[in-house]
Amino acid sequence: MPDQARALVDELAQLAQLELADDEADALAGQLDRVLGYIERLRSVDVAGVPEYVQDEQARSGLRDDVPDVDVDADEVLAGVPVRRERLVAVPRFKSDGSEG
């Protein structure tokens, strides 16, 4: 397994907030390498002067009237939160540094 492919997977996993087991990371490294090799063919296309894609009909401005509109119930939303403290979403502290207060 080329170290380079595995190092890439490790870097990408960190960026993507994924924690991979060793054998998992090795398997993904091989597969990713193969797919990236396939994608290299895009480099052979002449894209000089070609704009990035937009739909023919541009979407509407997306601005709605400034009128209150409730279409979701806050209690129902809160019911789906894994860990709550009253009406707050509870999360662990940002970093675990061993000195829990």
Partner: protein, 506 residues
């Protein structure tokens, strides 16, 4: 029961008409379909969740409305099921992933809402590849879906459960989603009609996002008229989806009825012959496709050769763009506000643990690929470049449509394959999207319709794909209806039907 047998084979259009004129009740139709679910699910596993009591209540409400003389919607009493990518208020929705296990949506998506307003009876949620990623419905932490035509074979994906349920007659209309072919390819593998509308024709609100510039919702049915009926209900602008198009919705059933006369005089059908010479096109698929073209010519169509110069780059382009968008869209699954949480002492560890345990292998693969192409140092070379190639691909189709009215191709290069045969080769799986992804990249409407079967046992379906210019669904539906009127493929039933019908006492 004889009446159950006749009910489960009827089209949605016929059932809706029967409910309106009193020939059947919504409740008896509902019971017949629930019985089909009971008879088939232990072999097919199409459903992620069946909601019989809700369905019965909806059916009762339709019957009561009819008794009162209230107006009934166009799908009143028709039993449908939704791919589990569609958000349903009060009904657990998992999108094929453990990371959303236990999540009950607090709102109704646009699709569930429109179908309910039209009077449809929702039987349940259908199994799928995780987050819409897959072509075989094998990317699932739960039970594998089986192809009703050959139970050891894949039904296709990612709307595999949808295809399996419609072809097993355990729902009448199935709603699927299509990002790179996920409605059309399973339709092709299961002898169904599968329609991907133009991008923006149907709202995406309430369809859990995989790749926002490519995703579209659409129906899978056994008859072209039912796909038209479903599209009529689903199409239209949504003020809560700014990518939905504010353009009039034509009469799709009128297009189908015009087509059903079986004549295509003067219709120019474009053919990209180079694509047929590629390695990997199954000989039986080619045979069925050539026969389908001959049938279209018999109906009065004219074949025109067209070029799609960037066709060979489309799969690579698609996999750069869809993975980039997916890596961004799936960043929201972090265990904080909904779904599963794998709690750890710190927030960062919680994110990583939740995502690592919650996502399956294919999803991780695509997130990593998407992360790669979006890195600052890679952006221009990969994502930026792919966005320009996407423009070139869209221009290729526009140029082709200057010379023809519709494009024809096989839907899938191969018929259904054995479960497990391709799961270790992601790239091989991606290459099977070669005919379908163009329509997603260019935002075009496309349909797959039954066009034959492979000769080798087990007898497996092969679909024909037609593509049209943007918003030309009427043209697509007219041609599909004409082909359907002249052929009998769509009337065949999987051997499973007889096998499970007999258990019911005939």
């Amino acid at each position: 029961m004889a009446s159950e047998a006749s009910l489960v084979d009827r089209s949605a259009r016929a059932l809706a008409a029967g409910v309106r004129d009193g020939s059947f009740s919504a409740s008896e139709i509902c019971e017949a379909l629930l019985a089909r679910i009971d008879a088939t699910e232990d072999r097919v596993h199409a459903y992620r969740r069946v909601t019989p009591e809700r369905a019965r209540a909806q059916a009762r409400a339709i019957d009561e409305a009819r008794a009162r003389g209230d107006a009934l919607g166009p799908l009143a009493g028709v039993p449908i099921a939704l791919k589990d990518i569609f958000v349903t208020a009060g009904v657990e929705t998992n999108c094929g992933s453990k990371i959303l296990a236990g999540w009950t949506p607090p709102y109704a998506g646009s699709h569930a809402q429109r179908l309910a307003d039209a009077g449809a009876v929702v039987l349940g949620k259908l199994s799928m590849d995780e987050f819409g990623m897959g072509s075989s419905n094998e990317n699932t932490p739960w039970e594998l879906v089986r192809n009703p035509w050959a139970l050891d074979y894949v039904p296709g994906g990612s709307s595999g459960g949808t295809a399996a349920a419609v072809s097993a007659r355990s729902c009448v209309i199935g709603l699927g989603s299509d990002t790179g072919g996920s409605i059309r390819q399973p339709a092709s593998l299961c002898n169904l009609v599968g329609l991907k509308p133009s991008y923006g024709r149907v709202s995406r609100r309430g369809m859990i996002a995989f790749a926002s510039s490519l995703d579209q919702a659409g129906p899978m049915t056994r008859a072209v008229e039912d796909a038209a009926l479903a599209l009529q209900v689903l199409a239209g602008p949504d003020p809560r989806d700014s990518s939905s198009l504010d353009v009039p919705v034509p009469d799709y059933l009128a297009a189908v009825d015009a087509g059903a006369r079986g004549q295509l005089d003067g219709l120019r059908i474009g053919l990209h012959r180079a694509a047929l010479e590629r390695e990997g096109l199954d000989a039986e698929v080619r045979r069925c496709f050539e026969a389908a073209l001959a049938e279209l010519v018999d109906a009065g169509a004219e074949l025109v050769d067209v070029e799609l110069p960037h066709f060979d780059h489309a799969v690579a382009c698609y996999y750069v763009l869809c993975t980039a968008e997916a890596s961004s869209n799936l960043a929201r699954y972090d265990g904080v506000r909904y779904g599963v949480r794998e709690a750890r002492p710190s927030l960062a560890e919680t994110y990583a643990a939740t995502r690592s345990r919650g996502f399956g292998a294919e999803v991780k693969r695509r997130i990593l690929l998407g992360t790669f192409v979006l890195r600052a140092e890679s952006y221009a070379d990969y994502y930026g470049r792919a966005m320009k190639i996407r423009t070139l691909i869209a221009r290729d189709y526009a140029a082709a449509f200057a010379r023809c009215d519709l494009l024809a191709s096989p839907t899938s290069p191969v018929p259904a394959w054995p479960i497990g045969a391709k799961i270790d080769d992601p790239l091989a799986m991606y290459l099977s999207d070669v005919f379908t992804i163009g329509a997603n990249l260019a935002g075009l409407p496309a349909i797959s319709i039954p066009a034959g079967f492979c000769a080798a046992a087990p007898r497996r379906p092969i679909g024909l794909q037609l593509l049209a210019p943007r918003l030309a669904e009427p043209s697509l539906l007219r041609a599909a209806a004409a082909y359907e009127a002249r052929t009998a493929w769509h009337r065949e039933r999987p051997p499973l039907i007889a096998a499970t019908g007999e258990r019911e006492g005939g």
